[in-house]
Point group: C2
Chain length 405, copies 2
């Protein structure tokens, strides 16, 4: 059973389905007759500031509407508690008789839970902590994949599918910069956009491999020669062999968040650097670059149904494990078929603060593409929401005596 009040919060970057997990946890906590169901506004910062909402007073009708709305309905935070912050959290939780805490977030949020659990044991406050996974980066350990990723992958695939058609109509070179600091999963999802053999993206650059600007330009030249056009998917986190992000080589004036991460999104600098390099080195005239930016995690109405279901399920399972398992942990998703999944409670330390990268089996030997194994892994996640496109099949009119030779 659930002891004391239940508290739910959302941390880190929003996703298209993060509220499914919130609603799943709220409804399940009410079903288990928790003494109260609070929501903390803006993650852990809402706890220390005692900014709570009484989720027991939400109607199921409104909760269902919230579930299908993108981005953290409780608000989010980038705060990462230290010892003093944690002690403040415990003081507040104790005052409000909160005994179970569900934190929906990525590896930073799971690390926050790990710190809370460690500190909680020191101060002897019996708090049950369960991590509910979400991240478009898909970089949580143990889990086959993470809620939020499939919908973001669907966005990226749809974007490149459209770009591919656009680029066929008006050929040139196109660079699309995709989110992903350390893990290339979301950039790799661009490969799902391919349908015909000559479809783009023709090149895919991931942070799991070192990036070399000269090799890049040569790759582009070759692809352009072969296809008469070239579409390139690039992760924002690409870096040189010394590990320095290419975007940092542009400017020393970098911005860091509370986790020490350099700000990569919200600027078009990397795309501009790459398109400039192509223009100046190849003589190709039509070279365009887009940075997908925040659209890929929050665009309204681009949601994988499987993602919706799984995000709901991890919220529900978190409450069930909290009531039954007698220990803290992180909800993890395990693939047990093609396609079927199972949900388990994993030790927090196995997930907290760690980053899963794309395995070698998912990256082509060239270092500039994915493997069929990755496609097989990723395709079921985006489901039927990635529509097929068609080309004209009409035969060319045979010109027997061309007017212009």
């Amino acid at each position: 059973m659930l002891h004391g009040k239940v508290l739910i919060a959302q941390g880190g970057g929003p996703t298209a389905v993060i509220n499914q997990s919130l609603v799943g946890a709220v409804q399940e906590a009410r079903r288990w007759k928790a003494d109260g169901v609070y929501g903390a506004m803006h993650g852990v910062s809402g706890i220390i500031n005692e900014k709570f909402v009484d989720l027991a007073q939400e109607s199921d009708v409104n909760l269902e509407q919230v579930a299908t709305s993108p981005c953290s309905a409780l608000g989010s935070t980038r705060d990462k508690p230290d010892l003093a912050y944690c002690q403040e959290i415990f003081r507040v939780l104790k005052t409000h008789d909160i005994k179970t805490f569900f934190y929906i977030g990525g590896n930073d949020s799971s690390d926050t839970l790990r710190i809370l659990v460690d500190e909680g044991q020191k101060v002897n406050y019996g708090l049950r902590c369960i991590h509910i996974p979400k991240t478009i980066d898909n970089d949580l350990m143990i889990s086959d994949h993470t809620p939020g990723f499939p919908s973001a992958a669907l966005f990226v695939a749809r974007a490149f599918a459209g770009i591919n058609m656009d680029n066929r109509a008006l050929p040139g070179v196109y660079v699309g910069v995709v989110m992903g600091r350390h893990a290339g999963f979301l950039t790799a999802a661009s490969a799902l956009a391919r349908q015909f053999d000559d479809d783009g993206p023709h090149l895919i650059y991931l942070p799991e491999r070192n990036f070399d600007l000269d090799n890049f330009v040569n790759d582009v030249k070759s692809a352009y020669h072969k296809y008469g056009r070239c579409i390139i998917a690039v992760s924002e986190g690409i870096h040189n062999q010394r590990g320095v992000p290419i975007s940092n080589t542009i400017s020393n004036d970098v911005e860091r968040d509370a986790h020490g991460n350099v700000q990569l999104s919200g600027t078009g600098a990397l795309a501009d650097l790459l398109t400039d390099a192509i223009k100046s080195s190849t003589g190709i005239k039509r070279v365009r670059g887009d940075t997908f930016g925040y659209l890929q995690r929050s665009f309204l109405g681009c949601v994988s149904k499987i993602d919706q279901l799984e995000a709901r399920e991890v919220g529900i399972k978190a409450v069930q494990f909290a009531a039954n398992a007698g220990r803290d942990g992180a909800i993890t998703i395990h693939r047990v078929g093609d396609y079927a999944v199972d949900y388990r409670l994993t030790e927090l330390r196995d997930v907290a603060g760690k980053t899963k990268l794309m395995g070698d089996s998912f990256i082509a030997e060239s270092g500039a593409d994915v493997t069929p194994a990755f496609i097989q892994y990723c395709r079921p996640l985006v489901g039927d929401e990635l529509p097929a496109v068609a080309r004209l099949q009409a035969p060319a009119v045979q010109i027997e005596e061309p007017l212009c030779l």
Copy 2:
């Protein structure tokens, strides 16, 4: 009736529904038993190079699949014929007994048709030319709106609706740069994203008004003070009072297309300039900028149903007018109800090469927003494909003796 063979081509930037018009014209031309239905690859350049496909050999099954695929299936071009180019076109058309030409495109494509008609009269080649409208910019004269715009507007509205939720979860300043060189319709469509009173975009900058960086920064400060966050929609075509695009003030190294237009999309420079200005002048830390780029015209699976239907209809109507009206012209859309439209054949000279801008009644007096009249104009175009979102309604937990003051 239709004389000789029919030729169809697509020009200018692709849209999400441009193939609906193509398929509408092909099927209707076959219904009218045209002697042949050719497609020119890559617009007028396909004519002078005799790159034709025999559209009479397309199956209706595949045509329906093509219709729902984004971006010019025949390929497009930025070529703008001069006299010599036109003479070459007539030589080819005559050789292939092509007597009716449908060109699907924007104001540049309609101007190409005007030139063709003028030159055709000089060389006494009886060519029937009908312009089929498309442009995401919505800047064609006479028409109430243009096929392609509603779907692009839907993309922009969905993008800002998501960004609005994202920005509520993690507050800060967000600048989204939207396509539109001279006309602000697409940027203005961002206003459709608003649902709650405090929803963004809080500021909207259009090329119909002069842009002043100092005023801009002050507007942002005020909005940020009022809402604790600020979302801004900016047209890529904003310019200073001397008419110089703000993006040009960044670099003199500008790229021009065949129509003399400066390249605005495919670079993140304008968003970066604006976010830098905000950061350096306001002290606000979290300032992000995205350039929506090519996604807004080609993103797969973001289509207004009304746009689909109308794009199909203008293709069909073009053939009917060609068969019955006995004159050249441009298909125009006229609003005859709320919401209902009528299709007419307008003189080419009234559309060709002209640009419709947003009227004063659509622009707020502040110069940084749209009016309710614009919302009323634009809302029916995107239809039911813009979903509503929901917020939590749970009341705040009343804290009687706050722990932290």
